[in-house]
């Protein structure tokens, strides 16, 4: 049983009256606790694929299955699936600037309907496990790039999702912080058993995953 699967995905954009095919018959299967990386050149459609898998975008054709159930971004349950079954980490941290690190992490749990006290307690535990116990009450702009990305990682994990989708999670970091974040992802994958789908253009780091795919000319192929 695959926790996440995508079959025959196609997606194209119209740019200056020209149709650009970013995905052509792309297929992907992700098992529980599996870590997959997707590499490819800039603009090849890696982020688009991840957005489709995360129910943020709709494919032109093809199917996405989460836990064996076919899903798409337009369905009424999509927000709930994004909240409970999926975790997102983006290249830019997208932390809410008006909230502290702890409040940012607690946000998905509060959206899920949990009370704020429990959510903040869980956020504190999670941030402490990522070495940010002294940054709990700092606002997003008071954190370094590496810290911001760790907060965003904690936010992706707080609802214990089955799958974490990471789009260039280290794309904005220097090599040292980048290595730290990758190590953290590997540890979390082992400790919590969540599946990770990581899009990156860093081929060296991508090899740390159990399977590496390459996206080129809209085709997804196993390296």
């Amino acid at each position: 049983m695959f926790c996440l699967a995508a079959y025959n995905l196609t997606k194209s954009y119209i740019d200056s009256d020209q149709s650009i095919h970013v995905l052509s018959d792309a297929n992907l299967e992700v098992r529980e606790a599996e870590m997959i990386s997707i590499t490819g050149q800039s603009g090849c459609g890696k982020s688009t694929l991840l957005h489709i898998l995360g129910l943020l975008d709709t494919p032109d054709t093809g199917r996405v299955l989460i836990g064996g159930r076919e899903v798409h971004s337009g369905m009424p349950e999509a927000p709930m699936i994004r909240n409970k079954d999926l975790g997102f980490v983006f290249q830019f941290h997208y932390l809410v600037e008006d909230l502290t690190a702890c409040e940012n992490v607690a946000l998905p749990m509060i959206i899920a309907g949990n009370n704020s006290t429990d959510s903040l307690k869980r956020a504190t535990e999670l941030l402490s496990s990522l070495g940010l116990e002294d940054r709990l009450n700092r606002y997003a702009n008071q954190l370094s790039g590496g810290e911001q990305q760790r907060v965003s990682l904690a936010r992706a994990l707080i609802n214990s999702p089955k799958i974490v989708l990471a789009d260039e999670p280290t794309g904005n970091l220097d090599p040292q912080h980048s290595a730290e974040v990758w190590q953290m992802i590997l540890n979390l994958n082992k400790e919590h058993g969540q599946a990770f789908v990581i899009v990156t253009h860093d081929t060296d780091s991508a090899r740390l995953a159990s399977q590496t795919y390459n996206l080129a000319q809209g085709k997804l192929s196993l390296c």
Binding site: G54, L56, I81, Y94, V96, E97, L107, P108, I111, A112
Partner: protein, 382 residues
């Protein structure tokens, strides 16, 4: 900030306008009902009621529980003169022997309220126009049209000492009132001891039922008497004032609506400013409805605080207008000469509900944009 300021100012103007109009309506009603009898009874066929008839009527009318006082009086149109100037006046004569109540004692602002033969009480503006004050002599002239001599009309005139100044706040009354004793009126008017009418004052809780009580009295006393409730003379005026009050309220509501347009603009700006956060919330699973609720809660809370602050400012503004000394109403135009504010809780509740509804509509209208924001577009653009 300007959104809040706009709501505060518009609500304060709405609230102050309503308080002042309510104050005017209340004051006008008070002076009207204070200066004039609530029910007047006269003979339908004659100008006079005999003293025996008056006694019988008083015993009959006093059985009605709504009646507070019954005062027989004489009322005639006369002229008052200071020698060089003459003004028309209304002479009202009462029995000051203590047998009957004198219901207007509270309006005697200067001098005494109980007078004896040779003394009169004069309305404030009448005294002012004729340059008279307490202690001065005032000539009262009654042009007896039925007494014509070879030299023409032969008016009856007497001079009286002003013992008190009458000031009810109702301009028309203060401009024409002369109160004297029955014996002086009988001498001046050359009439036999009698009364012209019965002035009935009702208990405050029964004032609004004056028409019904007048009908009951008419049926009980017979058709040879004419019974007039106060509503016959003043209800139209009060209805007009009430209508003006609500008309002003509606006009001032447009000010709140204009402030509401400011709210639409502010909320639209906030949404555009926060579109990245909206995208994050949507990505994390927040529904459009929950995001709209969050915005509505935050802006709505600010709006409610602004409305309450506006109502507070409106109350202060009304009290300031009431207590300021540099502008007074023209009594000859507006009936009363003072600006009064009446802060009624029900009016404040109406202001709050109307302002809250308008602001709420203006908050929810731009929030519809959140539905149209596509996460993917926001993520790509940011």
């Amino acid at each position: 900030m300007f959104m809040i300021l706009g709501i505060v100012l518009s609500v304060s103007i709405l609230s102050a306008g309503l308080n002042l109009f309510q104050g005017y309506e209340t004051s006008l009603k008070e002076v009207l009902l204070g200066s004039f009898p609530h029910i007047t009874i006269q003979d339908a066929d004659s100008d006079y009621l005999s003293i025996d008839r008056v006694k019988t009527l008083i015993s009959q009318i006093s059985k009605n529980p709504a009646v507070e006082t019954i005062t027989p009086s004489i009322s005639y149109s006369v002229m008052a003169s200071n020698g060089s100037r003459i003004r028309g006046a209304s002479l009202n004569a009462y029995d000051f022997s203590g047998k009957f109540p004198f219901p207007y004692a509270k309006y005697i602002k200067d001098g005494k309220s109980t007078i004896s033969t040779g003394e009169i009480i004069v309305g404030k503006y009448l005294a002012k126009e004729l340059g008279k004050k307490t202690g001065d002599e005032l000539k009262v002239i009654y042009p007896q049209l039925d007494r014509i001599s070879a030299l023409g009309l032969y008016p009856s005139e007497r001079s009286y000492r002003i013992a008190g100044i009458y000031s009810s706040g109702f301009y028309e009354s203060d401009r024409s009132q002369i109160i004297c004793t029955l014996s002086d009126a009988e001498t001046l008017l050359n009439i036999n001891p009698s009364f012209a009418k019965l002035e009935i004052r009702l208990h405050s809780k029964s004032i609004n039922a004056a028409t019904t009580i007048a009908t009951e009295l008419q049926q009980a006393l017979g058709m040879d008497l004419a019974v007039y409730p106060w509503t016959m003379f003043s209800a139209g005026l009060l209805r007009l004032v009430a209508m003006e009050k609500w008309l002003i309220f509606i006009i001032f509501c447009f000010l709140v609506l204009i402030a509401g347009i400011n709210v639409i603009s502010a909320v639209t700006t906030i949404i555009l400013d926060k579109k990245n956060e909206i995208a994050v919330l949507k990505t994390l699973g927040a529904t459009n409805a929950s995001i709209k609720k969050l915005f509505a809660y935050q802006v709505g809370l600010a709006g409610i605080c602004a409305i309450l602050a506006g109502q507070g400012l409106g109350a202060l503004l009304s009290l300031f207008v009431e207590n300021q000394g540099w502008y007074r109403l023209k009594g000859d135009v507006y009936f009363i000469d003072s600006l009064n504010a009446a802060i009624y809780p029900i009016n404040q509740v109406i202001v709050f509900i109307v302002a809250a509804c308008l602001v709420s509509v203006c908050i929810h209208y731009p929030l519809r944009q959140i539905d149209k924001l596509q996460i993917i577009e926001l993520l790509r653009n940011s």
